[in-house]
Symmetry: C2
């Protein structure tokens, strides 16, 4: 085994750590890596490239946004099928047995010890990394704006999805509403609130654990992955969405001053 | 300098880690220790023994409860005047300049770098320790019940406080209400809800950060410190409150089954 193969803790990856901007970009589903000791979970190469293993395009888009917004970016280093960092350890989706139409053989039966081991190897280092970034900013008087970046598949159980850009909120909808209005004003994207998922689908764990307790402005962004299907498309989407985020943040700052 | 004096990280202290009970006891204000490099913050020995530096009696009571409930206990190793682990890094109370009638000279002017250093040395290790306990339990299918143990001074700005036992809730009042009812039924303690403080006073940071996001039952208990003023009194109070907590937990389990 190589050193990487016997790694037992998978720390979050942080880019642009000293960025001056207010936004902290979070990408829980950036990677489709399935390192030892988990192997490929019994999946084919095609399945490991598919949206069930990660959010294709999300990391490239997040990097484009990080450059344009001078934002710090944190992303998870292993596949959501090993551990989905946007899920609590007892949620079915944390280590899913099935995703859309695909059974995940390596997750068919997970013992309590294995569930604990994945939590310790992936979820806890991820959570500590993200919490550390947030708490350090807050200590310095620079309260971050938390924006998570996701992508979704254009076909779900065979049905096409019309929405192109979804903006999802947890307890505080202010930033999501402002981003949605900006997207409708500044882009031609078919943009919807709480689509294709909402907090009721348990998709806002990161926002709930890391942003809501500190009262930080926050939103989850979902981009249909056929619109970010390669480096050029990712860059074009980042160029389209950076002004949307800036306008959304300006709006909530205006609201905060007025209240 | 001794090794202890140059310690730069103050991890949370965990007792009874393998306990089988459902309760996880949390004591953020267990200690009045003010280690180097902070020294005594310019306070007298009397001030360092007073309630401003810690919650006198809370750790002894928590230990008595831990034994009786077979509960894990986690407590902070340094004084709340160095860093109050029940406060976010930008709350005034995290590193207070003044507490009740006492100025805290060593906290009169805290630079951003010092605020960051205390956050990294005390708050982040504390939060990681508590989050780790909770996430590991959840991964094993043993969702903990979070109960924080505090004490308050019988005289506040010279005025006596009549309340003896306060039960405080964050977003979910279920456990606090059940404990309050049990205390009124089982003890002669003058027991009140959200007294002498409430969530509006920013005293529920631990509950909000660690219990609410996971939907864990939770409550904050406040005992008047003249009732736990030594080992015998702490034991007597633990003996009185252990059945109260058991009855409160039984009540919310009954409610959960009925819903």
């Amino acid at each position: 085994m190589t050193a990487q193969e016997i790694q037992t803790s998978w720390p979050a990856v942080v880019e642009n750590a000293d960025a001056a901007g207010d936004v902290l970009l979070v990408c829980e589903h950036a990677s489709n890596q399935m390192p030892a000791p988990w192997g490929h979970l019994g999946l084919t190469a095609d399945q490991r490239q598919a949206h069930i293993a990660w959010d294709p395009g999300a990391l490239g888009l997040a990097r484009g946004l990080a450059r344009r917004l001078d934002a710090t970016l944190i992303h998870a280093p292993v596949s959501r099928l090993i551990y989905d960092c946007n899920r609590a350890p007892d949620m079915a989706g944390a280590m899913p047995r099935r995703s859309e139409v695909h059974d995940i053989p390596g997750n068919a039966t997970i013992s309590p010890a294995e569930r604990l081991a994945r939590t310790e190897a992936v979820y806890l280092p991820w959570a500590a990394g993200l919490h550390g970034l947030i708490a350090r900013r807050i200590a310095l008087g620079r309260r971050p704006v938390i924006v998570t970046i996701h992508s979704f598949t254009p076909l779900w159980h065979g049905q096409p999805r019309a929405v192109e850009f979804g903006v999802i909120h947890d307890a505080d909808p202010a930033l999501a509403l402002a981003i949605l209005a900006a997207a409708r004003g500044l882009t031609g994207l078919r943009s919807e609130l709480n689509a294709p998922y909402s907090a009721a689908d348990d998709v806002t764990h990161t926002l709930r654990l890391h942003a809501t307790p500190y009262g930080l402005p926050n939103a989850m962004l979902e981009i249909r992955n056929d619109l970010i299907s390669g480096p050029e498309a990712e860059e074009a989407m980042a160029a389209a969405l950076a002004p949307v985020l800036n306008m959304g943040m300006a709006e909530i700052q205006k609201q905060a001053k007025a209240s």
